[in-house]
Symmetry: C2
Subunit: 295 residues, 2 copies
């Protein structure tokens, strides 16, 4: 399935803005560190996260696109830092990401650790200095720190590492891992968009439900792709989950039930998106793309 | 030289508060992750940073001790995360820290990477949810992210890594490394204390100057200790700088001129502390302790 056009547009905007932030620091940051940050930030990818922020903002009635740009940049910085650390030899030990050498392979491990650490700090800096109400900045930072930290993404990554050596993992545990590992940040995107639009509690709730469903859909689709696509299409090592005896939706459920579960999540996402009226249409398109993407 | 009593009192208070925060999350964070975070946070140490926050706050007329506690906890979380990553095999490759196994030796590398990542997020969460004015929360977060990120601590760490293989480093470069690597965060402590007290620009400036001088003093004293103390006294491997051909104040200047430079920095710190009147007296005591400490 083709990516919706707005995905590329939001992605390009977030990328340009981040590139500018990095360029502006060239004289005050060690060159190699900045290069590693830029290398991983600009390595392409689907950029679903900034699109979720922007489209949830619009779906909740937001009209000032510039207002959400710092949140779009912040989430890409956090996401990129997490990929760099995930790829390290002591974690998933990946050599290739999006068709290119991973950060520690292109540079070295120390540089990769530091570039990611700096990206995490950058995310919070961007939010703290955004041109929006201070109360809202704090709320976005607080929620992002929770979504990214030990109760969210990092906690999920830890659960994932611990699950690798055990084969007795059930569906509930797989879901718990992914609600933390990928779901929390995707949810943050949707809630951040809603909060920036000054959404009422119904709209915020719809965005949360959409984010949660899309988060799980995203992971199930990822697991299906890893089990079925070639490395060439995927731009990263395929079949790695099975080789590493990782607990995935496919390993726990089998391929056909995993596809059925994905369809269920898509329905939930679309139900949530539809309560936002016509403005929620791009969110539904996005969910369909996440379901049908081939890499 | 004996540590001043208030250092231990502030340390104990910050430790208790952080331990409580971690304990409150026991049901929602993977046990091993939380254990690693607690292990490194509670590993002792001098706790100079929280004391700087509290004493600069008091020196600038602050009277509500509870108001600065989140900043004291946040800086310990950031400092601890940086120690965990610094000790990793791909960085300084240290087995011992404060007389105990380093985090990755006590647990494993993946857990250490993740525990530190979670601690960085926790620092920003603590500040974002502090019970102080939202504008001030944002300002503290923005300054902390700058001090900890690519323009500050992480940048300094990168310079330090790059300097390890070159022996042609001069005093200016050593100073540049440490102004970033340790100085930026120590400065943040002092400025955060001043800002939380609602300091005027003169007081804020005095705290900044004090922080900068104390930051360099701290590093020079560290380098002198590494060159002269035993591992037993130090609680970590001594003589490592020379073994690794690290550029230090001692390697660049020699021991006696390094001691003279430390004395100069002490004078600068005391001059800054004295402009704060009687309230600045504990800051001067602290600087003298940093100069004279034996571990």
């Amino acid at each position: 399935m083709q990516a919706p056009e707005f995905l590329a547009a939001h992605a390009a905007e977030a990328e340009r803005a981040i590139a500018q932030v990095l360029d502006d620091r060239a004289s005050v940051v060690p060159e190699r560190l900045l290069e590693a940050m830029r290398y991983s930030l600009m390595a392409g990818g689907k950029r679903v996260r900034p699109a979720l922020v922007r489209e949830c903002y619009r779906a909740c009635g937001g009209v000032d696109d510039a207002r959400v740009l710092p949140a779009m940049m912040a989430i890409e910085a956090i996401h990129t830092y997490s990929l760099i650390h995930d790829d390290l030899p002591c974690m998933d030990d990946d050599d290739v990401r999006r068709g290119s050498p991973t950060c520690h392979r292109r540079f070295d491990e120390a540089t990769a650790v530091l570039a990611a650490d700096a990206l995490q700090a950058l995310a919070f800096e961007l939010l703290a200095s955004a041109d929006i109400e201070a109360e809202l900045r704090c709320e976005l930072i607080r929620r992002l720190a929770l979504a990214a930290g030990c109760q969210g993404m990092v906690g999920g990554q830890m659960m994932d590492m611990q699950a690798e050596d055990g084969s007795g993992i059930d569906l509930m545990q797989v879901e718990r891992i992914h609600l933390h590992k990928t779901g929390a940040l995707l949810c943050w995107c949707c809630e951040a968009g809603a909060l920036l639009a000054g959404a009422g509690s119904d709209q915020l709730d719809a965005c949360s439900r959409y984010g949660k469903a899309v988060g799980l859909l995203f992971q199930i689709a990822d697991d299906i792709l890893d089990a079925t696509a070639s490395s060439e299409t995927l731009g990263k090592s395929a079949g790695k989950d099975a080789a590493q005896h990782k607990a995935t939706y496919v390993s726990v459920l089998g391929l056909v039930p995993a596809r059925e579960l994905a369809a269920e999540m898509l329905e939930l996402a679309i139900a949530a998106g539809s309560t936002l009226g016509e403005g929620g249409q791009p969110l539904n398109t996005l969910a369909q793309y996440i379901m049908g993407r081939d890499r």
